[in-house]
Amino acid sequence: MCGIAGFYRSPRPPREYADLMHDMLAQIEHRGPDEAGCLLDDRIAMGTVRLSIIDLAGGQQPVLSADRRFRLCYNGELYNYRELRAELRARGAAFRTGSDTEVVLNAWAEWGPDCLPKFNGAFAFAVHDAVTDELHLARDRYGKRPLFVARHDGALLFASEMKAFLAYPGFRFEFDPDQLASLYATWTPLPAHSGYRGIEQVPMGEYLSVRGDQERRGRWAPLDLTPGPAPESEQEAVELVRGDLERAVDVRLRSDVEVGVYASGGLDSSIIAHLAARRTDRPLRTFSIEFEDAEFDESAEQDELTAHLGTHHSKLRVTDADVAEAFPDAVRHAEVPAFRTAFVPMHLLSRQVRREGIKVVLSGEGADEAFLGYGIFKDTRLLSEWDALDDETRRERMGRLHPYLAHFSGADEQRRMLGLYQQFSTEQRPGLFSHQMRFQNGRFAARLLAEPGDPLAAVERLVAEEPGYAELDPVRKAQWLEFRTLLAGYLLSTQGERMALAHGVENRCPFLDPAVVRRANSVNGRFGDPYDEKHLLKLAYADVLPERIVKKGKFPYRAPDSAVFVRSRPDYRDLLLDPDVLGEIPALDARFVRKFVNRVYDAPPERIGTKENQAFVLLASTVWLHHWFVRGHGLNRDPLKVPLRVVDERTCAAA
């Protein structure tokens, strides 16, 4: 895994390009601490910091095609690179290295953007065509790897992380109030959003082609949730799911360095650990987090799993104080406001993983979206059937929705919940039926903003503009929204790759193999009780995993939120109420912020609920982002720790 950065058609004099490239790459060196390289010509500068995983010696970047027409800076892994290399060789392509990077380059040279659907991987890359002067920026199917684009002073800037833009002369960060409102209400930035004015993300499954002032956008992978042909029996479905997952893990074990697994104690990562362990000739390295707070801790399941599989397990104990201490730096890596603190322990864990010499980890991310593991899918199913059910059935189903939540147990609680669900049993916002309850809860956080407007307008537009969305059934609409919001905008990014790459660790997600997602959509809802989440996955692995893990039910990975700061960092009260800071962030409603922060610190802990926790973390992360990005304190002035290899094709260099 790596990081890329560059600029195109900059008005800056080309003699400055090497220094500019160096400074931009220095901001993201954590993503690729092994090597650094860049290409410079009069029209473009593009570079890579490399985390070497495949062909350690030969995979240097940037790479140029044999005729020097195409130049590539690439961040990612192509899991099917061997197969594609064979296909390209058969078509006459020549290879000088064993790296997947060269496969990407030759695939682009051979097929152009039509190569993208052939790729099974996690990637974001920039390829420049020296003949046409076109710059192409492409991103993987599900948004596993980031790619940001900004325009400044006539130049187009691009980078794996926005912090690279801090090093470009004159570039300034400024919050985008509309995007913040959307983010606060829906928990995550929407696919093209960054949270800042003038910075966009290349959305997942899309590419952007630029030639001078002309732009062309292409969508190579719309999110396809169409169910395929149904297996004939549950047993056949189980075997098909197993086969797809085995292949997905096997190709993600392709690496010239050792691969570990994040083993949270949940079903998904336990399946991945089991599948990886059967392919290693020494004990598999597994890693997990242990919380001091029993409410969040899954140590018992982790211990049982790792003993069962015989892995070499490392556990990192995380306290409230640890989370509070690491929060500012974790936010700096996240780059966007976060609605909970669960990403911070992942920041600490990836640091530990790297210290123990592991550069690649597999995780269970994506299983809940693919196999409908979240409560929101059951909620949606229930709400879509609501009018046709009698009260007794409604209560019975409600009781099974979120068994880990106290307010779902007990007759009085369930009676009151009936009223709540009734509120959401009709669609009030077009296309958002499944997420109305979540987004309603998120609207509280938007009150922290000075002018939130309609915070759900952007997500409403997103689904309205999506071809085919209106025809999806309610549960698949929920699935589409999960893929496009929480998964891409938080789980894969803030909590996933940004925390891993902060310490030069590459994360891989077998459940997001396109074949696995396709298979999941062909079996979801067709076997077993639809209110029994991930029924087929449990069935498929019940004979190889500890019973406790299979039967536990969904236990979302969480960490303590505002309590972390209230219990261990009273100084945050002053930080969040600092009049200078609040005066500098016009997007915030300073009056409400003061009222809210005082409430969180003064109220008894039991009075602080989910919405207050989320609002508090969003606010705290926004204040830190203001410090790092808007004020610019996140600029790293240290030089690269590795030499910068320069492929120099500038006319001034020739002179």
Partner: protein, 84 residues
């Protein structure tokens, strides 16, 4: 009761009744109450005023406004008196 309820709502949900958020505003639709807030409000009303929301009332979309809740509590109390 209504004034007490008003104070409770303002304190609990961090807002103030004003020209924009009136005593007739549906606090749920206005985004002031979230789902947990809705449940805790129902619980508070039932426990504080000794009344109970019946299922048909809950499913009839009780207007979650200050006036709506106050009217419900008054009505429930009257029904309780009549049934004695």
């Amino acid at each position: 009761m209504k004034d007490e309820l008003k104070d409770y709502l303002e304190e609990q949900f961090l807002f103030e009744f004003d020209a924009e958020t009136t005593e007739d505003t549906d606090l749920f639709q206005a985004g002031i109450l979230d789902s947990f807030g809705y449940i805790s409000l129902m619980t508070h009303i039932e426990e504080r005023y000794g009344v109970q929301f019946e299922e048909d009332e809950l499913l009839g979309n009780v207007m979650v406004s200050l006036n709506g809740i106050a009217a419900f509590v008054d009505g429930a109390r009257e029904r309780a008196l009549e049934s004695r």
